[in-house]
Symmetry: C2
Subunit: 150 residues, 2 copies
DNA sequence: GTTTTATTGTCAATAAAATTGACAAATATC
DNA sequence: GATATTTGTCAATTTTATTGACAATAAAAC
């Protein structure tokens, strides 16, 4: 159905292009895991980011997630209400505090991740260590490079 | 900031996880290219899919894009109004016609792609042929596998 | 060949995700 | 110290996508 791209840049472009439908299929899958957790996609993303960064201010989470600060703030508030994240005072800034996961928030995001990990393990088998390593590295580099400068 | 995942499944999971922020950074970038073209993200996606499939029914586009048929139909209608896609009668189905790009639609999506390709070329330089090939293949396999069954 | 089931198109209502605008408070820069 | 930038907060809006409902067509079952 789809012809394979011929040049290296074309192939990279095609691979990147695939990100949108891929995210769509992932989201559809992930939805099931979120069901019963009372989490929205946004909340899940912020929990994930907070887990990854361990402790972060709202602007740091905003950078990480590439979203608008107002949206992140709204989600953080929801998570605060649910006591899944907590504030830690920031000596360097009076208003801009740190956020970290509460025990229950940490348990929740870990549970969600674990369920998904189980599925991913199936796919990991299909690829070699090197392939997965390349994939991971390229995702990191692309994300990094594209989020910086013009 | 982020510690590298240790096991193969973890690394694959982390790579996949990165899809969301990556798409976000890509979208931010892509926005600029869409500016002045009067295209929405949905329209762009459908044009892209129609280019890739050359000729496709609405259900085929729906499968490809992993969206709901109603949404695809709405976007197709918009593109028909703008004369960027055209209908071709389908001998196998009275109602479900084929869609293909009009010359102007084809020119438009190719122009958008070209602008983006220019940026991607920079990144392609950074990676080897094998790395790009692996990346492309993994994106294909993941997208394929995740969109089917279970 | 007829009945039943699934697919497809269409219209409408709704929801989710994210952006934008505006303003005040805190911080950083000069 | 004055000015510019960052950050938090409240509100309105937009974009994207889903869901529900119903009729027309096609496919499957019988």
């Amino acid at each position: 159905m789809l012809k394979k791209p011929e040049s290296k840049p074309e192939m990279l472009y095609a691979g990147i292009q695939m990100t949108r439908p891929l995210l769509r299929t992932i989201s559809n899958r992930v939805e099931a895991d979120l069901e019963g957790t009372d989490l929205t996609v946004g909340q899940r993303a912020v929990l994930e980011a907070t887990l990854a960064l361990e402790q972060a201010t709202a602007p740091q989470l905003t950078d990480f997630l590439q979203l608008k600060r107002q949206f992140v703030a709204k989600v953080l508030k929801e998570l605060l209400d649910k006591e899944q994240v907590a504030q830690v005072s920031n000596p360097r800034h009076k208003r801009s505090v740190f956020y970290c996961l509460t025990p229950s928030g940490k348990a929740l995001i870990k549970k969600v991740r674990k369920a998904e990990m189980k599925r991913i393990e199936e796919f990991a088998k299909v690829f070699s260590e090197e392939e997965v390593e390349t994939y991971y590295r390229m995702q990191c580099v692309l994300n990094d490079a594209l989020s910086k400068r013009s």
